[in-house]
Amino acid sequence: MKELTYAQAICEALDEEMERDDNVVVLGEDVGFIGGNFKTTVGLLEKYGDLRVKDTPISEAGFVGMGVGMALTGVRPVVELMFADFLLVAADQVINQAAKIRYMSGGQATVPMTIRCPIGAGRSSAAQHSQSMQAMIAHFPGIKVAIPSTAQEAKGLLKTAIRDNDPVVFFEHKMEYNKKYMIDDNVEPIPFGKARIAREGKDITVVATSSMVMKSQAAAELLAKEGIECEVIDLRTIVPFDRDTVIESVKKTGKLIVADEAHERCGIGAEIAADIAEDIFYFLDAPCGRVNTPNVPLPFSPALEFPLIPSEEKIYAKVKSYFGGK
């Protein structure tokens, strides 16, 4: 085991994949000389040179589209968008191009491109630098959506994303980058579509994504002291979705909460509850619940922003509400 920050774990995954496969190329805003806005590409330019680690102009549609063209011609580009919000600037290339080409070509071509981008609020970055875009991207067929929790998870899932032959949008949580984690010396790729039971419990299932996994685990420890045992499931990937693990857990606990930082409306909480309803309806002893960011844009002032962010306390309170507490 060794201690690494989440950002360093991502950097290690990139380094190891670039070392393993000459076709892996990193490009995006500030990924070269300064090693990334969030320090996730430190040292790569020096090691792999200017063609495999490319600082791009601020042209999101342009360089994501270049990634598509590179992916079609034998390269495995890892494109970094400095904030997930910028996916919308490049949306045509992500949704109309990358996600569609394999299908429109009748399987003649694939687009093995990974788009890395940070999500999440908590830095007083206001409405255009704080969004969580996972539900929106997951809506479109043809693209996989990975959303790691810890540093170890980020490293293992990123390796899988890079080796995948379909486009993957890889959502990192910006509040995790500087946090330290103990991780294994060697982290193997973590398969997509296989959720992780982060904590076992018999009383209620909490399905969580990204940093909501750690918040759910923290809430679960407090709840355990009150005799409520939460089963926390780290979803790992939204597409593909590990239905079986979630269904099995809910059949055992009879209760489901989905904790995800994106806005509540049309989010993955609604999706999961609807998707598995037929399988779990008669096992439920309470309605499915959600913990999300309310349906307002993220404001600047900490006084406004922090109360909106789904926290450990909110998960705790939501779970308690299922057991007669407030």
Partner: protein, 325 residues
């Protein structure tokens, strides 16, 4: 047009390619009129000299990115016209098994990265292919075909800016047919020539007569040489005209706004018949050879029509293949 500078074989190649495009699309139009084609198709008729001249300057391993008006680019790259026609009819035997249709015919085996339904969508993709060529030192070039209206999309600027900054082996071909659906490019753009935008990137910007296959070929050949010598991208604007409206269902009434005779004036300069008459003028004996070529192509076209018409449609469940969903 000075046909004397070219070998008979080369001229015959140009003519054969252009004639094949023309006849192919006449049959596409027939399928539409007979109600045998679902949806719409954007015909390339009138613009044949551009794809022909540009692709003649490429080698087999080079890449092209195409547009919604892409049939000509595919024919010029030697794509299989049976599979093209089948795709246009939505048949199982088409290039994409009926999933793409006229607007999205892709032929990876011919270096055709895709025909794109989003105006400007293909420009960065072709640029990415040029990046690969540079990274892998493969000596390839990538061509991005686009219409005049794509030059007003952000991806035009973003892509050429990067290609120029990094000296990528990419050639940007503007097929300026004057109209973006009904909107006259001259009404929405301040410069009569679009190639002047090259100045902003400090790359060559060339205007050529897009009705003259030899002029297009010469410009493309020079651009390919520049690209292969590491001198970066070239922007070539080809002045042209589409015989039909934006698509097969568009009567193109907007075209009489400037001049009642606009279409006739352009059609008088038809790239296919112009080359034929110049060739025959230079060498009367070519008339017979051309006749033979036309007969051969007619057989190929009729075979493609038959193949497409007689092919089966895909099964409904095939909608669920070729995608991770």
């Amino acid at each position: 047009m000075n046909v004397k500078d070219y070998s008979k074989e080369q001229l015959m190649d140009f003519y054969e390619t252009m004639y094949k495009m023309r006849r192919f699309e006449e049959e596409v139009f027939e399928f539409y009129k007979k109600g045998m084609m679902a949806g719409l198709a954007h015909l390339y008729m009138g613009e044949e000299a551009i794809a022909t001249g540009v692709c003649a300057a490429l080698s087999d391993q080079d890449y092209i990115g195409s547009t919604h008006r892409g049939h000509g680019h595919l024919v010029a790259r030697g794509a299989d016209i049976d599979r093209m026609m089948a795709e246009i009819l939505g048949k199982k035997t088409g290039y994409s098994g009926g999933k793409g249709g006229s607007m999205h015919i892709m032929a990876m085996d011919k270096g055709i990265l895709g025909a794109n339904g989003i105006v400007g969508g293909e420009i960065p993709i072709a640029t990415g292919a040029a990046y690969t060529a540079k990274l892998k030192k493969r000596g390839q070039v990538a061509v991005s075909f686009m219409g005049d209206s794509a030059t007003n999309e952000g991806t035009f600027h973003e892509s050429i800016n990067m290609a120029a900054a990094w000296k990528l082996p990419c050639i940007y071909i503007i097929e300026n047919n004057l109209y973006g659906i009904s909107v006259d490019i001259r009404d929405v753009t301040n410069t009569p020539d679009l190639a002047v935008r090259a100045k902003a990137y400090d790359i060559p910007g060339i205007v050529v007569d897009g009705m003259d296959v030899l002029a297009v070929y010469e410009a493309a050949k020079e651009a390919v040489a520049r690209a292969k010598h590491g001198e970066g991208p070239t922007l070539i604007e080809c002045k042209t005209y589409r015989w039909q409206g934006h698509h097969v269902g568009d009567p193109a009434v907007y075209r009489s706004r400037r001049s009642e005779t606009e279409k006739e004036e352009w059609q008088a300069r038809c790239p296919v018949t112009t080359l034929k008459s110049e060739m025959c003028k230079a060498d009367k004996a070519l008339e017979v050879v051309i006749q033979e070529i036309e007969t051969k192509i007619e057989q190929e076209i009729q075979a493609a029509v038959k193949f497409a018409a007689e092919s089966d449609y895909p099964l409904a469940e095939e909608a669920f293949t070729d995608v991770f969903a």
